[in-house]
Symmetry: C2
Subunit: 219 residues, 2 copies
Amino acid sequence: MKWYSTVEELSTAEVGLATGGRGRRPAGSGTREAIVAAARRQFGEVGYRRASLRTIATEAGVDPRLVLHFFGSKQELFASVVELPFDPEVAFDDLLAAGSQGVGRRVAEFILAVLDSPEGRRTVTGLIRAAASEEEAAATIRELVARRMLLPLASRVGRDRPELRAGLVASQIVGLAMARHVVGLTPLATASHAELVAALAPVFDHYLTGDLDPTDPGR
Amino acid sequence: MKWYSTVEELSTAEVGLATGGRGRRPAGSGTREAIVAAARRQFGEVGYRRASLRTIATEAGVDPRLVLHFFGSKQELFASVVELPFDPEVAFDDLLAAGSQGVGRRVAEFILAVLDSPEGRRTVTGLIRAAASEEEAAATIRELVARRMLLPLASRVGRDRPELRAGLVASQIVGLAMARHVVGLTPLATASHAELVAALAPVFDHYLTGDLDPTDPGR
């Protein structure tokens, strides 16, 4: 599981604070990373619409024109920073390495671990806030989810309708994150990992490996 | 299943357009309903944050002060208009009348019918947009979901942890609505009712009637 640039970004931001205060940073080493870190915090905290290139530039200690120079537009900056807090290829390899037996429980444990890490929760809630508020952010997220989550999973599960299966898993993850972390709906907001894993494991098993054929006469 | 005031509101709005154009409506019969209809459209289309009392008043053909007179504040107006597009007490009575056998399929069919009606979809996507963007809207929605969905369901299912079960069902519904109607994620956005019912029925069965005990040694 790879955590994109987290450590590098944090240390860059800390160095900026320690040495430069609110002063501006020259273009060059660490600048792009500082902008990405500031943008990720802004998008996660205030959402896509309310995040401004000016505020992001100020927080990163750079000239706002540098943000446009590096990223072109707010939408492109957004697409650059909403990396998933894990590498799906690596993650799904691990989750499916032992075969499909028990995969629902492993997916549930993995997702809950991501959502309960500060970085993972911030990324996922930021994505949800942005997708709900803004059509151009939603388009970016469709791309991200389709390319980075659906395709890797689709290529490994080995059953029919892999895109539908991955979409169903994604929908339950989004709904859980929304209820538990965005809206704070009890008792989902306060349920333990063990309770949620017990509840979700059979669901992910069904979505990933179960019979989804609506014409099956045995249903 | 009761559709709150839809017909009355529509006819009120049409009468307003036909007879008054953009002119203002006097306080009195139909005024409150016209404000509710305009507010529901605004919250559903632009979200809680961007909806303004002034725009709602203009669309309803009333003085903005009348909106405050009737509802007190934007948050109270929001709480008044985000009625679920069905009466949960009646709906859950119907869904559980035949016992818990097959309840997952009946819930799935019912929810998909709600989400595929223009009124139901507008209400649910409006709720999601508002909950994602605004803490005070999220608080209103917590109340709405807890009181109007969780409690009626909790009182009828008859298994352990009814609030957790209802929360899990709500999380999957929210995630589905988000993927299918807000973000437009294929293939969930284009899947047929039959496909989604086949996928969701066993999940709702599990959430409502299955074993959720994390300490069960048989798991």
